[in-house]
Symmetry: C2
Subunit: 311 residues, 2 copies
Amino acid sequence: MTKIAIAGSGAMGSRFGYMLQSAGNDVVLLDNWAEHVQAINTNGLTVVEAGHEPVQVRIPAALPTDIKEVQDVIILFTKSMQLVDMLQAIKPLIGAKTKVVCLLNGLGHPETIEQYLPKENIFVGITLWTAGLTGPGAITLTGSGNVELQNVDPDGKEAAQALVALLSAAGLNAQYSSDVLFSIWRKACVNGTLNSLCALLDCNIAQLGQTPQAQQLLRSIVAEFSAVAATEAVELDIPTTIAHISKMFAPEQAGGHYPSMHQDLVQHHRLTEVDYLNGYVARKGAEKHIATPVNQLITELIHAKEALLIK
Amino acid sequence: MTKIAIAGSGAMGSRFGYMLQSAGNDVVLLDNWAEHVQAINTNGLTVVEAGHEPVQVRIPAALPTDIKEVQDVIILFTKSMQLVDMLQAIKPLIGAKTKVVCLLNGLGHPETIEQYLPKENIFVGITLWTAGLTGPGAITLTGSGNVELQNVDPDGKEAAQALVALLSAAGLNAQYSSDVLFSIWRKACVNGTLNSLCALLDCNIAQLGQTPQAQQLLRSIVAEFSAVAATEAVELDIPTTIAHISKMFAPEQAGGHYPSMHQDLVQHHRLTEVDYLNGYVARKGAEKHIATPVNQLITELIHAKEALLIK
């Protein structure tokens, strides 16, 4: 039995933990939300899935600092701004052979993780699975998804493939990627345009797409993402990326959806992940003497809106 | 008796018209809002001033196209985006000796006006008077103010001084300015920061000033204003201008005030004057190969918000 800790068990972490345990692994859900942890330990994790009876699944949960046992695999699923605190809290769980998989949104996380363990044990990826957290201990599962995964260390392909097999055996539809950095940047570009603009303009994706300014706004943001990505050997073609993002404007795609940054900032008055999207591009641009005024301004506007809305 | 037409008789135009008529001039108020014009002609202009009994003043009003008589002086007081239509409508009122005074907010208006009459008859200025329009035919007057005025044609100083005398005789506290372009740019810079940011972030001036991002936001906008102003021989020192704007953040200054662009866009879902502030800087920057990505982005964001809010 593979010992797996989910570090950050919100909606997505709980979904992954639930599916991995169902496949026979020894899973523990770690999270800092005490009420959530207690609900799971008292009543089990409540899983609601369209077309199925709701189930309550016994699955151990704990605060990150309450567990000390070294794990085989740790899947990081925190919000970006909680990553460092989580890594600090789970230090005792990271042994010499522990593989750590980072599935967070946003840019710059591998650099952070490398301060806690050797490169050869770090794997990064993205996922298109979705899930919702409806209250302490309760998640809803919708749709299907996949995972793309790659080793950070050039020699780590075999280990990455073993992780891909582990995830796929749990129905998580994982693939080995030979260029996961491209996928991460492209996803960050989607979030750095649609999330940030919908949060700033207080609209959903379809409404943004219908403004006459949408294409020009996308172009100015994506151009800077592309220039900074190039310094990390990622080729983000500007017209192709804009076309990829623009597909989401269609109502039958994500159109009617309010992206997570809108939910966080406008709906729930919480801090956003902007520092790991537009903010990362602005920061790296400054380091590398690439002009990134557009992403700098968007980052400042989002932070100003945080300062105004979060008491 | 000097024949004066007020071209655009909202709150400010009506105030100027009222004061100029009280000083013995032959004034007509021109406006496109038919209900407003009719109310003034039926009941007189209702003027409410703190510490005074409300008065109803007989003063002729008309739609701009309803008057054909050549004027001695025309004072332009439209919203920026209505200027061209107004000039077109009042063509018959502009004779060879008609002096036209532009007191609009924003940048780029003299260029527009020069298409309708010779430079030597054009005068530009700014005013710090304020007034409110409370309904058709009704204005409120608060506080005091002044007018700075200058000739566009280098040889027009005497004519400008005559206009200054005309305004001052009506209690409008006018001064001849030897560098009105500087004053216009500086005021545009105040509006291009406080108006645009408060409209985008949905806050008042004091709240904007309290965000940790305020100084950096001001700096990035003002730096581009300064660079473009320099191409028009206006020296807008960046730190001095930021300090000038920052004074408004104090609650005892304009702090608690929602600027006009916030009122237009957020409160009343009307088009803004952004194209004559940040948009002008972006447009002129592009013409003159000066990078203005910050003002370009702010213009696009405001226009996108207009598209979202105005049905």
